[in-house]
Amino acid sequence: MDIVKGYEKEFEQLVEIYEKNTNDKSLRSPGVATIIVSGNKVVGLNSVKGMHIRSKERADGLVMIDVEIEDNTIIPIPVHLCTGFLKKRGEQILKFNYVIGDNVKVKFKSHCILTKVEKLHHYMESDMYIGKNSFVTYEDEHFHDEGGGVFVETITRMKIDEGSFFSSKFYETKTRVGRINVVMDIELLKNAKADLESKIYGRDDDIIDIREVLRLNGENSSGIAKSTVFATDRTKAHVVNEAYGNAPYARGHIECNEIVKGDNVEVSTLPLLKVLNDKAELTHEASVGRINQAQLETLMAKGLTEEEAAEFIVNGLLS
């Protein structure tokens, strides 16, 4: 692991918070590819065979990181992307550019540690190209400050080439959201598959915006985009799921479940399906409302109180 001189303390602090939140002690391991960013500085980098990481910090505060994975590379241990902010206030702007070759197998685990801030704008823009017949998974988990002063914007644009599979899980369930705006826009070529899942738990006056887009441009491409939001207190949530069937035998499914608790939440969902090829097939499911009564009573008939039953159901949905 290359730890940048003068930033050892920040590195240690971030790793410590990460380990405390996840019980994962692998970040320091030399066999684990890792990118650790604190504020506007890359403080730790570790690469593995077949993977190249380059970073650049601009004077205006923008941090640019390029990740390239060579063809036929299999990375057996997840690649960790850890971004954190240890000052009380500020702005963190990150630009990731991924180029993943053909026949690659890799799993990314991204963690956003923003637990010590009062007011922060975290902006992350990512472009990812996945070559042919590759298998890529990306798990993104956020830990925010309980004061609600974090504003996260993440915009991801992707192109998945022939025969590749991509899955993404975005979770913000353990800590307060603050304000979050997630956009994921994916283009799928021939025989490519994508599986997107977002789970967010809104508390207090959190604001949640999610937009997931599947562009099924290749023959026999398929994708699922599924969002689950549990909105409590005065949370405002708006979810847009879009799917475009532009090629023969393209199949897409979008699903949004927003569960509300309390009279002051404001939630909405908007599905958009557009077919430009008569052999494409798109479906959607959506639900907005309180926890299903049949589910509640099934558990209450086993001795759980209504609150215990609701918690059990929500924990399952957000797990």
């Binding site: 299903n292 099934t298 008939a301 001795g303 759980l304 209504e306 059990f312 924990n315 949905l317 797990s319």
Partner: protein
């Protein structure tokens, strides 16, 4: 003893249950038979205390205690349990955690319950209680859940529906298991093989207990008479 006294239940202005009396003793197996829409499942839901099934008249007593106004949770805590005809699905919850349900239950007990309902624990413990389970598998998981609750009174609403015919013996076995453990088993069914395994039956017609007695006699009467019966029944799901 669980006792229903003069229970009436109306929905949307229709009287679905018209003043029934029933008694259930621990360690015995009872059957509730009748055509579709006569109110059999409604009786089960009234006993369990589901929110939309509060009796409009009458009382329910459990060992002398009036439980008419108790909610589902309180009734469950007193040992009443329901095997749902179509159990709900739960996303993100494994069979193991569904059966455990935050209680202090050993893994071996869960495995034993799964084996009793013909589900191989190693294949099912990590699966989710969601849409991916077939109707029959979901029903068997619910049956295992009922077993682990160790109920004093278990209402089994159409325990065979959605389950393959090969599993009928298993269901009869589970009913007998409950009986041996001292539970009162209240089986709501159309199936003769299951009804005949019960000691005492109530034949329900148009919201009334039309006939009651030894199961053999009731089932025989039902078979001969009820198919062409002209009574008008309300659909339970309305």
């Amino acid at each position: 003893m669980l006792e229903l006294r003069d229970i009436k239940y109306s929905k949307n202005g229709n009287e679905i249950i018209k003043g029934i009396n029933m008694k259930f003793e621990e360690g015995k197996v009872y059957c509730i038979v009748g055509n579709n829409g006569v109110g059999k499942s409604t009786i089960g839901y009234i006993i369990m205390g589901l929110s939309d099934y509060k009796p409009t008249e009458g009382k329910i007593f459990l060992n002398g205690e009036d439980i008419t106004d108790l909610d589902v949770t309180e009734r469950a805590k007193r040992g009443i349990s329901l095997l749902w005809q179509e159990p709900a699905r739960f996303e993100g919850i494994t069979v193991e955690s569904y059966l455990k349900l935050n209680r202090n239950i050993k893994k071996e007990e869960i495995e034993e319950a799964l084996k009793l309902v013909n589900l191989e624990p190693s294949r099912y413990m990590r699966r989710y209680v969601d849409k991916k389970l077939s109707g029959g598998e979901r029903k068997k998981v619910e049956l295992a859940s009922c077993i682990l609750l160790k109920p004093k009174y278990v209402i089994m609403d159409e325990p065979d529906s959605g389950i393959d015919i090969m599993s009928l013996d298993m269901i009869v076995g589970v009913i007998n298991y409950f009986k041996e453990k001292g539970s009162a088993v209240i089986v709501i069914t159309h199936r003769k093989e299951i009804a005949l395994n019960c000691g005492y039956s109530y034949l329900i017609c148009a919201g009334n207990v039309f006939l009651e007695g030894e199961s053999k006699k009731i089932v025989s009467y039902y078979e001969k008479t009820c198919d062409n019966c002209g009574h008008v029944n309300y659909l339970e799901e309305e």
